[in-house]
Symmetry: C2
Subunit: 110 residues, 2 copies
DNA sequence: GTTATATATTAGCTAGGGCTAATATAATAT
DNA sequence: ATATTATATTAGCCCTAGCTAATATATAAC
């Protein structure tokens, strides 16, 4: 499954948003996702597996709980591909400054 | 259709690679895609429509030909979402330097 | 006008992704 | 050991994205 396929699902994107901020137990994720999407524990668990397998999420065992956190590895291919594209049309870009500013912001953002 | 759905298809990604380097007529794109994926002119045309509608591609009429080029607009949501995620786990990232370097490279790349 | 070329659109089929329901596993508590 | 809590797995269903085949449109050439 390609990296972009992983990100094409709204439940998985929301899950990544959650675990990008702080580590979360599976159960916590299930609660939030169920509230927002109305799907089963099983469905969420299946999404978590996909995120693990694709290198977007890491798991840590804590007793019976499984704590999920973001794994940057999965995003590498995605960002590389996007950067590759920009390498070409970026040169003709009207506002190269936009790009520069984005870079600065992502570094200085509190 | 969400921006990530657009990028989740390999034919569309390849098409974006093509038109990111230089403008291409529909026919040229069809040739390349047919050679690599073995799908019909119709299928390619349908993908081009999706890319247009989602703001990833622009068209210019030149006689009977339709010349496609990259439209940066479509990528904004994608990059914004990725940046947003990184804003959190980026702080804990072992190599923030990587991020800085990427920024520099994308600007100075020949 | 007719023909040829270039591209787009539509109807209909199909495979696969995402879901539920049921079940299995794994750790903790009693 | 048994029950309880927390999570994962599996089988099977359904819907939709992406395809083909056929057809329509639009420009250019004759």
């Amino acid at each position: 499954m390609h990296a972009f396929d992983i990100l094409s699902d709204p439940v998985r994107r929301r899950t990544l948003e959650l675990i990008s901020q702080k580590e979360h137990a599976s159960g916590e994720i299930v609660m939030v996702i169920q509230a927002e999407f109305g799907i089963s524990q099983s469905a969420v668990s299946q999404h978590l597996r996909i995120l693990r397998d694709a290198g977007f999420a890491k798991v840590r065992k804590e007793g019976a709980k499984r704590c999920y956190s973001i794994d940057p590895a999965g995003f590498e291919d995605v960002q590389t591909w996007l950067d590759q594209l920009r390498r070409y049309w970026g040169s003709k870009m009207e506002s190269l400054a936009t790009e520069v500013e984005r870079g600065k912001r992502s570094l200085t953002a509190k």
